[in-house]
Symmetry: D2
Subunit: 341 residues, 4 copies
């Protein structure tokens, strides 16, 4: 069976495992106060070009989003995001469980449109009853998006400019950031992100770590009292050094980007395979997730040989289907899948 369900089907990159093994019986203090975590923090600051950044390590994406958003919003504010945003659809109401509304805007290939964000904020304050409504208190984007698409540098600059003008933070969910940074044709670097976003996270779970997400606040004062908030959200790992060791490894010798490139190359190869066989792409994604409209008969046929995800409920005749590669995907598996199309 060939597995293309998602990018968290394996454990961790072998180098990550090697480091976890060789440090296993060392004794360190807990909750991220150890030297490995300290070093990982420093490496991330360097990679971002932000020597004063606040860097925090959490375990998973949903808890990271919930904790950051809770840390950024006042009680009367909500978070603006695309209707397809992970926080709006697939986090089981974690944002609302912390008391905050997700305010939605249309998605354009999974992305927010800067002009629409600007208009939303302007319209909000021009509404006479705005104090009865949830104020837009921050903007959430994902990069790559839930559809594998990417913001261009100019799109990101536009969003950043609007947020700064409105004096609200721009937050980027980087669950798959490695696959975005490694995409062919992207003009957005990690340093751009650190310059343009107020808070973002660098995803580890889906990019070579066993688990872990690194929250970066280039201006650390943007997330005051964040440590107790992490604890309150149940997102503080006792053996924090596990996160430190993993991110130290990911940010040594370019491993993070290298893994990204591997996955993206194979995903693009797979996309070409679909296109050449005449299938219709649901979205033209430059990263490691590929969305294809498959006739249900093809879905049934392929399911005997490969696993992948239906994107939403099964349609009457055809259904959008997602194929995902990762740092661990074998080229032979991609070739085998293409042969099956």
């Amino acid at each position: 069976m060939l597995h293309f369900d998602t990018d968290y089907m394996e454990g961790a990159h072998p180098e990550v495992m090697r480091r976890l093994m060789e440090t296993n019986l060392e004794q360190t203090s807990g909750y991220g106060s150890d030297d490995y975590t300290c070093h990982a923090r420093e490496l991330i600051r360097q990679a971002c070009g932000q020597p004063e950044a606040g860097v925090y390590f959490l375990v998973g994406g949903t808890q990271t989003n919930a904790t950051v958003i809770d840390g950024l919003l006042a009680r009367h504010e909500g978070v603006l995001g695309a209707e397809t945003a992970h926080i709006n659809v697939h986090e089981a109401g974690a944002i609302e469980a912390s008391g905050h509304k997700v305010l939605t805007l249309p998605q354009h290939e999974g992305k927010l449109c800067a002009e629409e964000v600007e208009a939303y904020i302007a319209d909000f304050y021009r509404d006479e009853t705005y104090e009865h409504m949830v104020a837009p208190g921050m903007v959430y984007i994902s990069h790559p998006t839930e559809y594998g698409t990417l913001y261009s540098l100019s799109e990101l600059e536009a969003l950043s400019r609007i947020c700064r003008k409105a004096n609200i933070p721009l937050y980027m969910d980087g669950a798959r950031l490695g696959y975005g940074l490694a995409a062919p044709g992207t003009d957005v670097t990690l340093q751009d992100i650190a310059r343009l976003c107020d808070v973002f996270y660098i995803g580890g779970t889906k990019v070579g770590a066993l688990f872990g997400e690194a929250v970066v606040a280039p201006h650390a004062e943007r997330l005051p009292h964040f440590f107790p908030l992490i604890k309150q959200h149940g997102a503080l790992l006792a053996k924090g050094r596990l996160l430190g060791i993993q991110f130290e490894t990911l940010f040594t010798d370019g491993l993070y980007l290298e893994m990204g490139k591997h996955a993206v190359r194979l995903a693009q190869k797979l996309k070409q395979g679909f296109v050449q066989k005449g299938y219709k792409l649901h979205m033209d994604s430059p990263t490691n997730q590929q969305f294809v409209c498959l006739p249900n008969a093809d879905i049934d046929r392929l399911s005997a040989h490969a696993t992948f995800e239906l994107w939403g409920p099964r349609g009457e005749e055809e259904t959008v289907v997602r194929f995902v590669t990762s740092w661990a995907t074998r080229e032979a598996d991609v070739d085998a899948l293409i042969d099956l199309l």
Copy 2:
């Protein structure tokens, strides 16, 4: 100046005030345990044809919605409503502040479409990832809607049937229920509502009371432990008898419906005035709220003589404007406004 901003610009119906005055120095126990409240409860049960109904009196609409929804939903569930639902737009995030997501569907003249509710629920459980999503745990409708429109009996029956099939409660926000029951052509009675909804509230604030909303659960066990929840939501009035006396008055000698009829008759007269002058209705409302598209020049001209609400931010050339009548509206004021058009 003529006032058509809303239906809560005056105090209470004179008969309500008379009763509050004549009972003012009586001593009663607090929190709704007094005889007036007991009697009001009984009158409402009779009017609803539900002798076993749970009846609770709260102060205002937003707190009522937040408390009822909190009482009906499990933690993993959200409330389905139209995108224009009051709980989604104009309650400053009160539902989310209690931890619950508002799940939205398109509005059709302010109403939910039963088929779309059914499809939403069906699609939800057909999605393989549904346990990562907020489950539709109840349906919220308003009657009249935020646009003054009404469900027909068959529409209400369809929603009720779908909810019961899905085993989730149907909740009706009746902030302006009196104006709905009194509308010409409606085939929905209070007893229909009590038969078809699991919980609803009869609005007092906008229909002749100083304040107050009566929550009705025809099957009282649908809202277990509701009293402490009212307290927890800060919605328990110390001098509960104020609510009891008011609703006792509203439900004596048909006052509630009589007030409704008065307001609706004048609103319809006003609507005819707009239509005859050639203005475009934004919505054809059979109740006490009228929504008209007015050129901005007309808005400016009328504003010198009358007050009314812009519905949303001011448009470039024309804007949707709301005119509202109430139990207290004077016919002379309506006539004067029509003359001004």
Copy 3:
């Protein structure tokens, strides 16, 4: 039957009712934007000697506490109060429902001890694990306390000094403030309170209004974005002018204090009655609530003629019992009760 259960058994002071009646059919804008509310706000600012104060009118005490505390605390902070604090015992978990922990200290006749508050804060930050604990983010006191007792000016100054040193707000629950200000021997004035507290509320529900509490923030910026928070908490009255008219009346011609004096004089007379009959006071209260230890046999005997509250569960032989007077208590009733002892 003589009623001494509590101070919210009647409606409102006749002058309040007269004003509500004579303004009943006036039309005003909603949510406290009317002239009456504006004037009431001004009168309270004057009475407090704080011309720039933020003044907000809410409906009841629990919702006021929940909304203010939610407005003052960051997410990682809790509110310090006496173990007997109303917010800790009798608000059905409203504070926790907003996400905040009530941190308790021992009560001394219902009061917090300034030295214990200071030690708590100092110990907290000396604990190496303090970031795993809920930070003391504000101090809650009630004046009069739940036991009818009062802070002296020097006690209040000590608390204020400690809070300002720790840079956390001091908040006073003044549900029965009128009875405190009018107590014989108190050296605390409303202007002292406004000078020493960061936020407090002037109770109307228990002191002559139908309902209503006036939140005062002498430095308005202490409660930023408080209006949408009131709405979010379901504590915004549509017909806000009802609150404005009531507080305008209470703060005209010294009515608020006059009512306080009446109730306190009768409560002290009643206390003397108990003492002269040899009963043991549970607490020596200078205000309108009196707590007496009564043998259960006496409770049963008195219950045939008077109503009053058991304070906690009934004891085996004797029980603490509360008798309360109000602005509306008749001297004849007090005399009759004393005769029954």
Copy 4:
């Protein structure tokens, strides 16, 4: 330097690491739907003697407590625990952040007294105002407690009987359960716990795993819809199989208990060391945590050679200090520490 700060200073038991390594590149589905997790679940059911139990794997203790308590309580209920309970002191308000109050009772060597729990519940419902108070909706105990002490079987049976009589669940926080089960003299087995508690968790983080806690509900229907709640709390690990593999290893060949025995034997040896040197125990703990009252001079002297935790803020002359052993503690280190005393 000798480290006795806590029991989460190392990584995982070598056998756990070996299994993680050898399965690292296998591909499995996410979120605990894999075969390893399925098998681990089965092994735990067997060890508990509860073939129908619901078993869920979460990442850490605070998130587990918050999620389980949120799953067990209705909105108007709180959780009863000792004043020293971890949920009351060291979880940064995570329980309150989910909207629930922690109701505290005195601790007796870290434990709840069954009679006091019974009296609390009885008093609560005998209080006439109980609907204004937070209802005791469940009981939280830890075993071992935060002070390393253990319930006896008869104490646990008494608590269970009281909870069942009151129809509220008994929940055990087993963060250090392995050290409790392995303690000399305990008469409480895992099967006893599964018989007497409604929900409990078996701690992995502190007992040989990298991280992970196994929630067990012997009657699975006690935690309905628990999966989406885990997701909502941000406690769902994407690579769920990491938890499955770890717990499969812990519950194979008696490893969990074996690790417990090792740590407890060394802790008891250390305790004897303290006693023989004349130090005063703060608590006589039979498990892996030892609490000793040390003169501050001794603390300073020892700190040059060993790490350990002050328990609360430093006292004026002496301070309670905690020494902890774990599955990984070396006997030579214990001997070296004893020599230093």
